[in-house]
């Protein structure tokens, strides 16, 4: 992760919170704890720095693109019975992978014909815990119709909703670091990857590393959806640009990589 000077205040504040939380009275003592990773402090610090603000059906046009264009293309070179694999990384507190599952059930007439595997990964273990708890406030549901909320959520408290237990089971949640090649080596053969609004936080070198890792996680011809302000073109030549009616997405190209 890299942060510009303008984020200095934010960094100071999160760091101060962790120093206070560990009971340290100086940065030196906190740094010692961090270096020896006492009580998994590295993980706590990473968790403090990751941003977990999202909502269901965010950038809905990409979900529409998934069912109107991407899946048709994916299925063309897939044998009958082979699973369709979709990855949401980073998945934060689960809104994105759950949105994909709900969108498919609501909008894809083929949903019962295929074995669909959805994996949600994040570096932040706290976010993953929240994802498997599946409880959301009203704000996270603001883009969902009443009909969808009634189908897949139950109110548990004032303005709090729990997502359907079957949906929680249907998503495989795992911890993964986008720029750690060893971490990423266990994720392969994905048909579509949603990797939105995370590359903007990386410096150029990390961004390139993430792009190469993601390339290896995709099947040949597989697609990657980035956030609306992000583009792969300036990061890596490994991907081709596909302009579909609903969204611009990137596709794993073959030749250059094989010569790499």
């Amino acid at each position: 992760m890299s942060f510009p000077d303008s984020k200095r205040y934010y960094i100071d504040r999160r760091l101060a919170e962790r120093i206070a939380a560990t009971g340290c009275t100086s940065f030196q003592s906190y740094f010692a704890i961090l270096r020896s990773d006492v009580e998994r402090e590295i993980e706590h610090l990473v968790n403090a720095f990751t941003v977990n603000e999202t909502y269901f059906y965010r950038e809905e046009h990409q979900l529409r693109c998934l069912t109107s264009s991407l899946l048709d293309s994916v299925l063309r070179d897939k044998g009958e019975g082979a699973p369709i694999r979709i990855w949401s990384i980073p998945c934060s507190t689960g809104e994105e992978p759950y949105s994909i599952a709900i969108w498919l059930m609501e909008n894809w007439g083929q949903v019962d014909r295929h074995n669909i595997e959805i994996v949600g990964s994040d570096i932040d273990t706290r976010a993953l815990q929240a994802a498997t708890d599946g409880v959301y406030d009203q704000r996270a549901l603001m883009r969902l119709s009443r009909h969808v909320i009634e189908r897949y959520f139950r109110p548990v408290a004032r303005d709090r909703y729990r997502i359907d237990a079957g949906l929680i089971e249907s998503i495989q949640f795992t911890r993964a670091n986008l720029i750690d090649a060893r971490d990423m080596a266990s994720y392969r053969e994905f048909d579509v990857i949603f990797c939105r609004n995370v590359l903007i936080y990386f410096d150029d070198a990390s961004r390139r590393m993430a792009a190469e890792n993601l390339y290896d996680c995709l099947r040949p011809g597989g697609y990657i959806c980035l956030g609306h302000s992000e583009t792969m073109s300036r990061i890596s030549p490994l991907f081709g640009v596909c302009r579909f009616p609903d969204a611009i997405v990137y596709q794993r190209l073959e030749s250059e990589h094989d010569e790499r």
Binding site: A101, M105, V111, D112, R113, N115, I116, R151, G166, S170
Partner: protein
């Protein structure tokens, strides 16, 4: 309800057997909205355990599943104790060939639907097979 009719019968209980969790949620949602009670199983073995432990009015069964597939399950069911051997089975699968349908009938499947199945079609067939007026 007019005078003289019996109290409304309890809703039909249906077991959905499919290894895909999204498919189970999709069918379950449709069936529950139509007023049916739904249980789920992820393969033939779990289905057999549930069938022997609880009572069902209809089993909806996929063909391709790990451990025990749909056809093996239905064959085993038809040879099982008399209370469960006669439960109607609706098979829903992607296999649409004539041979597939013949195999299913020979195994003891009562009705065969080819995926994708719309919510309306699912409910219509389930209502027919359970005698419900959903």
């Amino acid at each position: 309800m007019t005078k003289g009719e019996l109290a409304e019968p309890s809703p039909a209980r249906i077991l959905v057997v499919d290894d895909s969790s999204l498919v189970r949620i999709y069918y379950r949602g449709a069936l529950q909205r139509a007023g049916f009670e739904v249980e789920q199983a992820i393969n033939g073995i779990e289905a057999m355990e549930k069938v022997l432990a609880q009572s069902f009015d209809l089993l909806i069964v996929d063909v391709n599943m790990p451990r025990m597939d749909g056809l093996s399950f239905v064959r085993a069911l038809r040879r099982a104790a008399v209370e469960v051997a006669t439960i109607p089975v609706l098979m829903i699968t992607t296999e649409a060939g004539e041979q597939d349908v013949d195999d299913a009938r020979a195994a003891g499947v009562n009705f065969y639907l080819v995926k994708p199945v719309s919510e309306a079609d699912l409910i219509r067939h389930v209502a027919l097979l359970t005698g419900a007026t959903a």
